[in-house]
Symmetry: C2
Subunit: 429 residues, 2 copies
């Protein structure tokens, strides 16, 4: 396919009058539109105002999509223990599949082509099937909780790890390696030492399997871990093996100097979730300091009950705006830095090589956007437009691994039917 | 017209299976859909998922629309003096009219039916004409700057006030009283005492004319006013007559205890602009304290160069999220409080009675929204949905004073032509 328009190659380079040509699951050409047509005269042609890399949602909870809006304006512990976890515990396999499908639809409709997805304890298969069906790229993982978890969600340590291993065998590398696995402890508070160390062993035993967990989102969480282990949360995770370039830590709001050093030294990936941190009143993550230390920081929308959207453009804008007001510095986290977080940094966290830029030989995950909208007029700088003015609704076209998965409508799934069933199931829950 | 759907009457009341019937510029009926059809069998019928009051953008700069994205990620003084003010100074009457039209189109397309609009020093007529053409409700004012302003924007005090008076005579109460005037000093830094006192006199001399200015947005501004007058900024404004129920103060980020008392005692309207305050790194306004003191707080998107959108839903969400993280309290500024800010409080700031609720006898400013979107599914609480999940793009229908001004497309203006001309003019500037 030959996709022409203003091509955002990456956070540094924009080609006006450009084109991207895909062949199979790979980008074959990026350059001038006229040259593209010369070299690929028979390719199907599509034209957009902006052609950009698909964005990476590096921390999402697709299976919480049925809970959009269930606990707005409530205190965090009430939110988690009275609303979100009971909802997860009450979901059967069908509810889990519908929720995950809805979440992935929202992603591909708004420009996210890759997710790192924190599922639930039960019925993880349903989400893997949903990701396969929708056509999104994903690093998914069943949640591990073997202590202090609510009824219906706490498991025996060995059972939980064994089930994770089964899922790895079943789904890791599936759909032409579009779907991969991350071992996914919920967080240190609900996981024993054996569980956390077991997660590291599982990841080490399988090539390209990641580790994905929440870390230091909340002050109470940090205090609990410190009381139980005598260590700060990130130090504890490091102690049990959960740091490193294959580890994705969501949030990292409350870290001290030593923990930040640890994150940098071990090349651990941090996922900033600004809207979630704001709405749940968790705090402001020290993202500028992380970036200054060379830590890979990606972006995540977290879940629909705490955001309430999976729109990656909302999150880019929010990441930048929150850093600016927090530091009283209007130059903080500029558009290019944030765009890098949502593309190449997200790809790095997810562990896919050749992902997050539009370049020859890279994976063909591409989005097309319109700017023929009053709120998007005029466009001054294209990358800045994407971060501060664009919205997921501007996305007209989404391609993953060279396949068109969204073209005004999702191509592989009946979205209307999914939405209807989701509304019914949400009302029943 | 008979508009049926889930009717959001105001921040307290929602009618499922409801309807709003309009007759001329007024709401004739709000209640059950079946009753509405019984009583008004011959009215044209339209159906939406949600029917809500039109929202109020209580501090906008429509004429800055050509500068969307011109100075992202720059320091505030550079932003203002090297980009925004020179742009305003360089705009002729056509550029001003196109910019204002574009701004008003963005408003009605995304659910804003009323604006309090800070124009520029020159060519204010163009914006009044544009507001008349687009069909939006507005309280507009030519900007006053008689000291320390850039070339091309500084005026003689008497000339500036005389020109304001001419505009009042020409436009205040025009278009069936849909368009009104606000005397609009830019801010205390660029206005002499004579100018500020003159603004008060002008407002007092004309019924329903408001006063609209920026106040205490920035720490340097507050320090400058204090150095010049020996008073805190709000005390100074109070001293020269610029407090009171007819006064609209945008921002109010940096206020002390005495200033907050003054705002409350005088019933002065405050406009919170969270996205602008974040992006320009101005700071976090103490909005929860204002609300607790009973001060009327409305919401504003400010201008496209500092936001970069006029979407009122973005601003409701942002207002709530920013308060939550600032106070580390996830219950702060809940959905209903924010919805009140964007409706009845905004109407109060604008000075229009019977505006901001869907009730019998009130002005027929109504919007219709869809929720048939993946990112809007499921809807749990309707008011909460509007604040946290909805987006301006969900608005399908906008009515002002009983007239349909947007119905998928703006009804009175050729939006495509405006956008094309805006892009050309922006490139030329």
């Amino acid at each position: 396919m030959l996709l022409s328009g203003t091509v955002v190659v990456d956070a540094d380079t924009v080609l006006h009058g450009g084109a991207v040509v895909t062949a199979g699951d790979t980008i074959a050409f990026v350059g001038d539109r006229a040259d593209a047509i010369d070299q690929y005269p028979d390719h199907e042609r599509r034209s957009f105002d902006i052609v950009a890399p698909g964005l990476v949602g590096a921390h999402v909870h697709s299976v919480q999509s049925l809970g959009r809006g269930i606990a707005d304006d409530t205190e965090l512990l009430t939110w988690l223990f009275d609303h979100v976890l009971p909802m997860e515990a009450g979901m059967d396999a069908e509810a889990m599949e519908v929720a995950a499908t809805l979440g992935y639809l929202e992603c591909i409709e708004s420009g996210t082509t890759t997710v790192i997805d924190h599922l639930s304890v039960n019925h993880a298969d349903a989400a893997f099937e949903a990701a396969g069906d929708v056509g999104i790229r994903g690093v998914l993982g069943k949640v591990l909780m073997d202590k202090d978890a609510p009824d219906g969600l706490e498991e025996d340590t060995d059972d939980a790890l064994r089930e994770s291993e089964r899922l790895i065998e079943e789904y890791h590398g599936s759909c032409g390696d579009r779907i991969r696995y991350a071992v996914t402890p919920r967080f240190a508070v609900t996981c024993s030492e054996a569980c956390l160390r077991g997660a590291r062993e599982l990841a080490d035993a399988h090539e390209d399997v990641r580790i994905h967990t929440h870390a230091s989102e909340n002050r109470d969480e940090v205090a609990t871990v410190e009381a139980e282990t005598g260590m700060r949360n990130i130090e504890w995770l490091h102690e049990v093996g959960l740091t490193g370039e294959d580890v994705v830590l969501a949030h990292c709001v409350w870290t001290d100097e030593r923990e930040r050093e640890l994150l940098a030294e071990t090349d651990t990936n941090v996922v900033h979730c600004p809207s979630s941190n704001m709405k749940l009143a968790s705090g402001v993550a020290p993202v500028v300091e992380y970036v200054d230390r060379g830590i890979t920081v990606a972006l995540g929308n977290d879940g629909p009950p705490c955001n309430n959207t999976l729109d990656p453009f909302t999150e880019m804008r929010q990441g930048s705006l929150l850093a600016k007001v927090d530091r009283l510095d209007s130059t903080a986290l500029d558009a290019d830095t944030v765009l890098e977080m949502a593309t190449t940094n997200g790809a790095r966290a997810a562990g896919f090589d050749r992902l997050g830029r539009l370049a020859e030989g890279w994976r063909a995950d591409v989005i097309g956007l319109t700017t023929e909208i009053s709120r998007a007029t005029p466009v001054t700088g294209v990358r800045s437009h994407l971060v501060y003015a664009a919205h997921g609704d501007d996305v007209q076209f989404t391609m993953v691994d060279g396949e068109v998965v969204y073209d005004g409508e999702p191509t592989r799934v009946d979205a209307e039917r999914v939405r209807e069933r989701a509304q019914e199931l949400a009302e029943a829950l």
